[in-house]
């Protein structure tokens, strides 16, 4: 639930009601006080208990599995394997009731899907039918395992679209709504608290001193005499991470998004070493998202469930932006510091910003050509 967030959230009433700030007897203003937490838990227990029981009854241990295992880890010890084998033989002989045969057909389908998924090719090189095929398999596999449906798409880049991003340093107050929205939208691992966005808190009058900035603060914002600057993947036009990948598991799409095929990545982390902007993240252990928090509107290249040992990164919320919506961070920002749009559309806000503001980019000398600009009012 929302009380285990480690970043500070200012409740402006824009988001759903969160009880994290203020009103605690201990005098701390930041929702991280223990007494408060315990109280809250006790209150919720009856509801939680019911919920837990319901989930456990329906899907049990599958909840704790990551995307990879949810898809591939068909539990089968020797005994069940033999059981299944015998059962299928019996079916062949027509000596078993139709009820079991349904179950059996399911596990057979699961195995079939797992097999095809393990040996499928690189998404980058797939034709549209193949893309649709793998997306269908992943959705069906999820349904077989959890009994629930997700919606996953494989929309390609639209023509005449090139996504760009602008960040207004004057407006950002460091609330980090963008960070929490991003985590929720993109199904990032909750255990390691993976975050694509980092907000750097810098002191007024010292300029952009990233090394002195604090990108992991836990105090009330905006802090006096400080300003804030967000970084994430800049979706470079000349991305060094793409060049170095030995298997082309990461590439730049036609609309400028730098994406990863999580199933093709071998996990060498060369792209991580090559990125000058700290834009990439690695799944050091199996990522876990509680079933009730999973965002089920997914894109193959975006927020679908990841597995351990693969890279991931900001995709400008490809699952949203290719449907004409703004990325989650843009939508969540209460100050309007974040601007996103089509660089090829002369009437877009982003174009207006680029034409009317003094914009700059980070580490321009490296020749990476980020599609992420900063500006001030």
């Amino acid at each position: 639930m929302s009380d285990n967030k480690k970043w500070y959230t200012l409740d402006l009433g824009l988001n759903k009601k969160e009880e994290t700030s203020g009103s605690c007897g201990c005098g701390k203003s930041q929702g991280s006080c223990n007494s408060h937490k315990e109280e809250e838990k006790e209150e919720e227990i009856s509801h939680e208990e019911f919920y837990e029981a319901a989930i456990n009854a329906s899907i049990g241990e599958e909840r704790s599995k990551d995307g990879f295992e949810q898809v591939f880890d068909v539990k089968m010890d020797r005994r069940t394997a033999f059981k299944k084998l015998t059962a299928s033989l019996l079916i062949g002989a027509g000596a078993i009731s139709s009820c079991t045969s349904v179950v059996n057909a399911d596990s057979k389908e699961k195995a079939q899907i797992d097999w095809e998924e393990q040996f499928k090719g690189n998404y980058k090189l797939m034709i549209d039918e193949e893309k649709q095929g793998t997306v269908d398999r992943l959705m069906r596999s999820y349904e077989l395992r959890t009994g629930k449906n997700i919606s996953m798409t494989s929309e390609n880049a639209e023509e005449d679209v090139l996504f760009g991003y602008a960040f207004n340093i004057s407006k950002c107050q460091g609330y980090m709504n963008c960070v929490s929205a991003c985590v929720e939208e993109n199904n990032q691992d909750r255990n390691s608290e993976m975050q694509y966005i980092r907000i750097h808190e810098m002191k007024d009058g010292e300029g952009f001193k990233f090394d002195k900035a604090d990108d992991n603060y836990y105090h009330e914002v905006p802090k006096e005499d400080h300003f804030y600057m967000g970084t994430q993947c800049f979706h470079c036009d000349n991305p060094p991470c793409v060049e170095v990948c030995p298997v082309q598991a990461t590439w730049k799409e036609d609309d400028g998004l730098v994406v990863i095929d999580y199933d093709w990545c071998v996990g060498c982390r060369y792209c991580m070493a090559a990125c000058p902007y700290d834009g990439r993240r690695f799944n050091w252990s199996k990522p876990e998202v509680p079933e009730n928090e999973i965002n089920k509107n997914q894109h193959y290249l975006g927020n679908r469930m990841r597995k351990k040992g693969v890279m991931e990164k900001c995709t400008f919320c490809v699952q949203r932006t290719r449907k004409g919506k703004n990325p989650a961070c843009v939508e969540a920002c209460p100050t309007g510091a974040r601007i996103f749009g089509n660089l090829l559309d002369p009437n877009s806000t982003i174009r207006w910003v680029l034409e009317n503001k003094k914009v700059f980019r980070l580490k321009e000398d490296l020749g990476t050509d980020p599609k992420f600009w900063y500006f001030m009012d």
Binding site: D215, P246, V266, A273, K308, V310, M311
Partner: protein, 411 residues
């Protein structure tokens, strides 16, 4: 068909040789096996729980594995320093040493590949890297170049000694026409593997500590010091434990190579330090972190300040012929150099590349027990492979293993 018969007999004979030996030999192999098993157990934990069991993080994403990989590429490349004088310059002094050197190269390469696989997040999908079946991002990714040169070098270093030993096994002379072109190729190839491995890091504009033109040449210089130093130590061991004759002259000649390479390496070190510290820029921060610590973070100081004095001391002692020709001093210096360069080209090169991070954040890295376990396991694997190769090669070279001999004895 006759060839296959001989081959079969060779395999049987070598299996026979490597499973027999003194008590010391059996203890040695037993200990190596035990260490390998421990390493495998550690690796199984890593496979199960993911790379989170290592000390690596999003901030320092390469660690002990890649450090060892980098260093061992250098050891593998060093075999060439023996191959060149023997096969190309026809300096027969090295003939005995060169087979050992090539065996060492094979063992080092196997360790390199093992370290790379250990570092992978998804070893089960490594087939994605096989050209034809997977997608091979050649020539854009330097990692694909590295895959090619390392495997090519492994092939060369297996095939040349194999050909020579195979001929000797039959009591025939190896034909120069056949193996000399291969030897010449391997000379260039050895320089290639180390340069390409340096380019792996050198080509990253994101990491100023690596992105410097001296990295490649310095890799070569340090490799040609550390590799032959290891060969000297191995020859010393072989000399005292087997009947294999290695004249002092050979060891002294290799010592000469070590000395010159170490001197060049030291000059380059001075040049590097001068550049980083005379007019320090933002890009010198990694070097500051490595040598002096940054903002109170100084995990690498004990390492680098062990390496530098050892390196300087060994190089100075080796420079004087009087000391160098004293075998005891020579062995000690070689050991110092080996350790110093292992630290410098491993830990001291890879880890500071990530510190400070792209935005100046300093997160330190220390390997975990599991990481160390896997690493030692892989080193044991290398030693195991080398012992097997060396024992067979020595057996053939000493004439204990002969095709006809076996035949006549069975008849």
């Amino acid at each position: 068909m006759g060839v296959f018969k001989i081959l079969k007999s060779l395999v049987i004979d070598s299996l026979d040789t490597i499973t027999k030996g003194s008590v010391k030999y059996h203890i040695w192999m037993g200990v190596l096996t035990l260490v390998m098993l421990i390493g495998m157990y550690c690796y199984s934990i890593q496979l199960d729980q993911g790379l989170s069991v290592t000390g690596m993080s999003d901030r320092v994403s390469w660690g002990l594995y890649i450090s060892n990989f980098t260093f061992l590429v250098g050891v593998a490349a060093a075999a060439v320093m023996l191959v060149m004088p023997t096969y190309v310059l026809k300096d027969i002094d090295f003939k005995q040493a060169v087979l050992i050197g090539e065996g060492l190269a094979v063992a080092a390469l196997i360790m390199c590949l093992a370290f790379v696989v250990a570092d992978m997040g998804g070893p089960s999908v490594l087939w994605h890297m096989i050209p034809g079946i997977g997608v091979f991002n050649f020539p854009n990714s330097m990692l694909t170049w590295d895959v090619i040169v390392l495997n090519g070098y492994l092939f060369i270093n297996i095939s040349i000694p194999f050909y020579i030993l195979f001929r000797h096994y039959q009591g025939k002379e190896a034909k120069k026409k056949i193996y000399v072109p291969g030897a010449v190729l391997s000379v260039f190839w050895a320089v290639g593997i180390h340069l390409v491995t340096a380019f792996l890091y050198q080509g990253l504009q994101a990491r100023p500590f690596w992105n410097n033109a001296l990295l490649g040449p310095r890799f070569l210089a340090s490799a040609f010091a550390a590799g032959p130093a290891l060969i000297i130590l191995v020859l010393a061991v072989i000399r005292s434990f087997t009947a294999f004759k290695i004249p002092d002259k050979t060891i002294k000649k290799i010592a000469m190579i070590v000395t010159v390479a170490a001197q060049i390496n030291l000059i380059m070190l001075v040049s590097e330090l001068f550049k980083e510290f005379y007019a320090p820029t933002h890009h010198s921060e990694s070097a500051y972190y490595l040598f002096f610590g940054l903002h109170g973070k100084d995990a690498l100081l004990p390492w680098i300040w062990t390496a530098i004095p050892l390196n300087v001391l060994a190089t100075i002692i080796l420079t004087f012929g009087k000391f160098r020709n004293n075998l005891k001093i020579l062995y000690t210096c070689c050991f110092f150099l080996f350790v110093a360069i292992w630290i410098e080209k491993g830990f001291g090169l890879i880890v500071p590349g990530f510190i400070p991070g792209p935005y100046g954040k300093i997160v330190e890295y220390l390997p975990t027990g599991i990481e160390v376990g896997v690493t030692i396991g892989i080193w044991a694997l290398g030693a195991f492979v080398f012992t097997i190769l060396a024992k067979t090669a020595i057996g053939i070279e000493l004439g204990e293993l002969r095709y006809e001999k076996k035949k006549s004895s069975t008849l």
